[in-house]
């Protein structure tokens, strides 16, 4: 029964309030550094550079007072997949990429284990370890609401080029609002079907069809419920005279404002 308690499971990342300097840092600065760091970890293909970045991330985690156990728990879940991909890469990846001279370390029939293959797998391991720790550092030190506000700030200038920045930030705010409501609705749908004796077929991967057939009477009403909620909210917004987007959300709160508050409604 515990696995249908959906509301308890809708957590995007885990926020850990240790009130460190990273927690107090302006969310816009955090997002900027996060984007630069993500780009670096994604595109740099040097083992040494990734190693240096990993040390820097670990130092940041230490100064943010994140317990090591906490960071390790996040990584632990990904380790089996990392190992699986590593093995697949060693088995199937070309042992000597074009234009690179590789030294074979071990040969088994037509398969060679070369230093290039080992380096590729090492880089894969390091890159994903860095990215896992890096994203969890952001979610540990920043609440989802703060993240939304930060994104809103970065999106607002896009309006000038025809990209609806304000609308996108309103959509994000509404999404956060809808998530717990929908989780509760989903829980209600599953529980009501369970009360009717539905078999969710948790047991095996081979019971695909059975599982699909059991899910349909819950998934279709779930999607329709979401659309109905959206329709109701749109009517409520229009009834209150919504014709554009106001910027009052930013006024309440987390971003320091300069000058007056913009009203565009």
């Amino acid at each position: 029964m515990e696995n249908v308690e959906f509301l308890r499971r809708v957590i995007i990342g885990i926020y850990l309030p240790t009130n460190s300097w990273l927690h107090r840092l302006d969310v816009r600065a955090k997002l900027f550094v996060f984007l630069v760091g993500t780009g670096y970890a994604t595109f740099v293909s040097s083992l040494r550079a990734q190693g240096v970045f990993l040390i820097w991330v670990l130092m940041l985690m230490h100064t943010a007072r994140v317990p090591w156990r906490f960071a390790w728990n996040g990584l632990k879940a990904a380790l089996p997949f990392l190992f699986a991909f590593g093995v697949l890469d060693l088995l199937f990846a070309p042992s000597s990429p074009k234009g690179v001279i590789c030294t074979p370390w071990w040969t088994l029939g037509s398969w060679h284990l070369t230093n290039c293959a080992v380096e590729t797998v090492g880089l894969l391991f390091l890159r994903f370890t860095v990215l896992m720790l890096w994203t969890s550092l952001l979610t540990i030190t920043t609440t989802v609401v703060e993240l939304g506000r930060g994104l809103e700030w970065y999106l607002s200038p896009l309006n000038r080029w025809g990209i609806p920045g304000y609308e996108v930030s309103l959509i994000l705010a509404l999404t956060f609002r809808f998530v717990p409501t929908f989780a509760l609705e989903a829980e209600r749908l599953v529980k009501s079907q369970m009360a009717r004796g539905i078999d969710l077929g948790e047991g095996g991967r081979w019971r695909f069809w059975r599982r699909v057939r059991a899910m349909m009477p819950m998934l279709i009403p779930f999607f329709l419920m979401a659309l109905r909620r959206a329709e109701e909210m749109a009517e409520a917004m229009e009834a209150r005279g919504f014709i554009g987007v106001t910027d009052t959300a930013a006024a309440e709160n987390l971003l320091p404002q300069k000058g007056g508050v913009r009203h565009e409604c």
């Binding site: 879940a77 590729t120 990215l131 952001l138 959509i171 809808f178 999607f223 959206a230 987007v245």
Partner: protein, 180 residues
């Protein structure tokens, strides 16, 4: 400033983005299949629905939210690469929308079924394509994953998208409402 999006477009986009997040966070959107990764996902279905009901831009925004969520909350390490997690998801909505518009003359159910197929194939092909381009898997393994995951995902997506679109449009036109 006049809003470029109507209130309805904004709320439908937000609601379907929230559906994608809930499907992922509760693991409800994962259907077990007999493959190494263990499950087929239906988290892209709200993107297809958004594109059919509100247009390609809405599809792209829901795709971005879905991508961002899978990037921030991934347990599968490959999705910690934003080029794999976010970029391909932006194309699901527009592709599904154009498939829907091109096949609309053959009826609503055929068109929404085509949108489901094209949207799902876009997701699978672009994500796996990016995984191969980034060098995380070789092409042969990616093919195997694509076929074993893509087919169940296409079937489930079509099974959800067709009835939801038909029911929703009928409600909108005021025909099929139940009377007490």
């Amino acid at each position: 400033m006049n809003a470029k999006f109507s209130a309805r477009t904004i709320t439908v986009t937000a609601a379907l983005s929230a559906v994608a997040v809930v499907l992922g966070a509760t693991q409800w959107g994962f259907i077990p299949v007999p493959t190494p990764a263990g499950h087929a996902t239906i988290m892209h279905v709200p993107v297809i629905l958004g594109a059919i009901l509100e247009g390609p831009m809405v599809g792209a925004i829901i795709g971005a939210v879905f991508g961002l969520y899978s990037f921030l909350d991934a347990t599968l390490p490959i999705f910690k690469d934003p080029l794999v997690a976010i970029l391909p998801r932006l194309f699901i909505g527009p592709m599904a929308y154009y498939a829907y518009m091109l096949t609309r003359r053959w009826g609503e159910s055929v068109a929404s079924g085509m949108a489901a197929v094209v949207g799902t194939v876009t997701n699978t092909v672009l994500v796996l394509g990016m995984i191969v381009i980034r060098g995380y898997l070789d092409a042969r393994t990616a093919w195997a994953v694509g076929v074993t995951h893509g087919l169940p995902e296409i079937i489930v997506a079509a099974l959800i998208v067709i009835p939801v679109v038909l029911m929703w449009k009928r409600v909108e036109f005021g025909r099929g409402r139940s009377r007490l």
